[in-house]
């Protein structure tokens, strides 16, 4: 907190952006981890954005001018990652899968973020019966295995099967329900802590209304850790989506490509030595989760000056540069 009060207090807005500022203050192994995470995450985002350009075929395409695609053919020049049992190109489906994943992550995390933060703020500040009911509800949701809850939700929302947007929203809403208690808990705990801080009390003795205290004074102070939860929850959203797809509650293969569903279909292939149908969607899940986790964890460590490490080289450079003031 006191560090920005030195020379770095006024930097361009670009240098103060969350990830950029983290990159600048990192060094050594921590920087390596952050960069590895960023590379994987960028790879994920790029393949989601440009899937139609990268992928040679559509995700649900099983034939072209030259006729039907071969089924379960090993990787070759035309199908670089091979084809599935239904004749889809694995490479194209993996690329398009990133698209579905990113939509679900954005929708799920945004919805749970807004609802969870709002409820946590009100519940933590006002307390009383509302707080008690909310905490019991949050605990009840926690008590369910999250995947089970997501399955129940997807059945309730879409009767278990659906189109592209129906599927995405069903997955997103089921994940939202699981995540709201997390945001709720974090923000509520932070608000309870901040409530006793003198700056909140000084707003109270001035005569500020509870709404003003909550939204002017508490909101921005209570949500400082959220970018971290955001990245960490994004991975969990992805895993939940893959889990739903794997269990068959996901999106129809003709409506959108989804990694979990592809993995499910690849199960029987694995025993007959067809490795490519399972390997690539699986790798996509692992690498994306790893990338997002690395970014989240690195940001978490870098935000805390006590966890931040200076590499020997950087420390030397700073000492040699001398005093900046």
């Amino acid at each position: 907190m006191s560090i920005p009060s030195l020379a770095s207090a006024r930097k361009s807005w670009f240098a103060r952006l969350p990830v950029v500022s983290h990159l600048r203050m990192s060094s050594g192994l921590q920087r390596g981890m952050l960069i590895a995470g960023l590379v994987l995450s960028v790879l994920f985002i790029v393949s989601a954005l440009f899937a139609p350009l990268i992928a040679p075929f559509d995700f649900a395409q099983s034939s072209d001018m030259s006729g039907d695609f071969p089924r379960q053919s090993a990787p070759d020049d035309k199908f670089i990652w091979g084809t599935t049992v239904t004749g889809y190109d694995v490479f194209s489906r993996t690329m398009y899968g990133a698209r579905t994943a990113i939509w679900v992550i954005i929708a799920a995390v945004l919805m749970s973020l807004f609802i969870g933060v709002l409820l946590g703020l009100i519940s933590g500040y006002l307390g009383g019966w509302f707080d008690r009911i909310m905490v019991v509800l949050a605990d009840a949701i926690y008590a369910f295995p999250s995947l089970l809850l997501a399955i129940v939700m997807s059945i309730v929302i879409s009767q278990g099967q659906s189109s592209l947007w129906g599927g995405i929203m069903a997955a997103a809403i089921s994940i939202t329900v699981v995540f709201i208690p997390q945001y709720f808990r974090v923000v509520r705990a932070e608000v309870m802590r901040l409530k006793a801080e003198p700056f909140v009390e000084s707003a109270q003795v001035i005569g500020s209304s509870p709404w003003r205290v909550m939204f002017t004074h508490l909101l921005r102070n209570a949500t400082r850790t959220l970018p971290l939860i955001f990245t960490l929850n994004a991975t969990e959203a992805l895993l939940t989506l893959a889990g739903l797809g794997f269990l068959g509650f996901g999106i129809e293969p003709t409506a959108a490509s989804e990694w979990g569903f592809d993995l499910n279909r690849a199960m029987s292939d694995a025993t007959s030595g067809i490795w490519w149908t399972g390997l690539f969607p699986g790798l996509a899940i692992v690498l994306t989760v790893m990338g997002l986790t690395l970014v989240g964890e690195s940001m978490n460590d870098l935000n805390d000056p006590r966890l931040r490490r200076f590499s020997r080289k950087k420390a030397q450079r700073i000492t040699q540069a001398g005093v900046t003031r």
């Binding site: 920005p4 020379a7 770095s8 203050m25 000084s202 003795v205 005569g207 700073i318 001398g322």
Partner: protein
Amino acid sequence: MNKKLNTDPQSNDDVLRIEDLNIDFVTDAGAVPAVRGVDLSVKPGEILAIVGESGSGKSVTARTALGILAENGASHGAVYLKGKNMLTLHGSALRAARGRDVSMIFQEPSTALNPVYTVGWQIMEGIRAHTKVSKKEAKARAIEAMRQVGIPDPEQRVDYYPHQFSGGQKQRVVIASALALKPALIVADEPTTALDVTVQAEILALLRNLRDELGTAIVIITHNMGVVADIADRVIVMNHGQVVEQAPAVELFENPQDDYTKSLLAAVPHLGRNSASEGLSERPHSQAEVLVEAKGLRVHFPGRLGAPGFTAVNAVDLKIHAGEVYGLVGESGSGKTTIGRSIAGLNKITDGSLNVLGYEMAQFKERSFKPLRKQIGFVFQDPAASFNPHLTVGECVAEPLNVHRELNPSQTRAKVASLLEAVQLPGAYADRYPHELSGGQRQRASLGRALALEPKLLIADEPTSALDVSVQAKVLDLFRELQTELGFAALFVSHDLAVVDMLASWVGVLFRGSLIEEGLGSQVLSNPQNAYTQRLIASLPVPDPREQAERRKLIEELNRA
């Protein structure tokens, strides 16, 4: 470097010798110098005080004696402890020196002890780490150390847990574990700052006795000039990482050489000097309107699940008249802050009556009290925490104006500018964020915010206790000026008798929730009637070694009586 040490004949008997020590801290914004070219030495049986304000490098310097340096610190120079350079020692050699040759007493005794082990276990841990003794033998030594620091019934209490001791006794336990191996040097980092004055006097007496009996050298780090006057043989004054002056204690206080030392000493409030009630014989403003009146006020905090509650304020009667500064003093837990918070409507009262500006707080409802909040200003203890870090200083000061919708935006800006000017801050500071201001500047801005609505009553809860003395002096001067100029009534809550005496004409002394003495500041402080007040005042060390030596005799008498 070692050669230099051996060729210097005078240095052979030094316990600690620091030569040309430089320390830098590596941060994102570049290297920050913490210590610059410090030389010092400590002889056996000597008490050396290192004084300085926050950020002067006093703690960092003293901690190198134990080879402690923060991970982002880079040091140059040499720190010889009994001839070993602590900066180059590593691993087992460093561990062997810690505890046996040098040990440390920390500021906050309640966090320095591990709550899940008995105090005896914690004292024995150090003994068994260094010497191969049986458990029984170690325990006997722990009991001996506890007896040495004056803990009654050490045989039983060796098996007590830290929470079963009071704050002062916990600090005694910390000292006992520092002493267990009879080290040549003890580094005490603000050992009494977290303690009340009466307890502080006891701990200082204990440290002095230990030196006399065991010949242990002590390096005491403090910002409190009274403590220095009480205990130190020799004093080193540090400022911005450099030693500015070094002299025997009596000489330093009577004839300071350096300008910084002079200004530091001038800023220390001295009990009985500069009193607000000087020359008064009766209560001023006693004819004026009564703003606050408490009758049999009681505030009780309920305990958790069957645990008994805590009565913070018990049957207190007091009156604050318009235009008067009422000083409320007491030690921690005496209920002084609770009274201030009750008047501001931050605490509910349990019993009795508290009338604030004609409003009965026993029937407190936020909605009906809100219009009155305009007339009450509040200054909090910690200026760093009392501002919303996401709002600029200007926005923070304008907050009361915005909440009560007094003025339009351009008038608000003008008002904020005039308020900042009134508290002697440049107008450009309105666009800065609170963390960009120093502690004293923040507290002045906080004063500006409290006065924004021109309140009739200001409640100041320890407004200067988080500040350095020189900054404190400026804030107190400002407070006094503004009070004279604007004529608001104030409740000034503080644990520091000298500060209260400077500002308040009428003083009340609280002890465990009861108001035990009330009167003109000069009378209460110079001629206290109540036995507790007498002890409290005698315990307060004054920044003058000769006068303090006499006061010490007085408190020894009081303690015997």
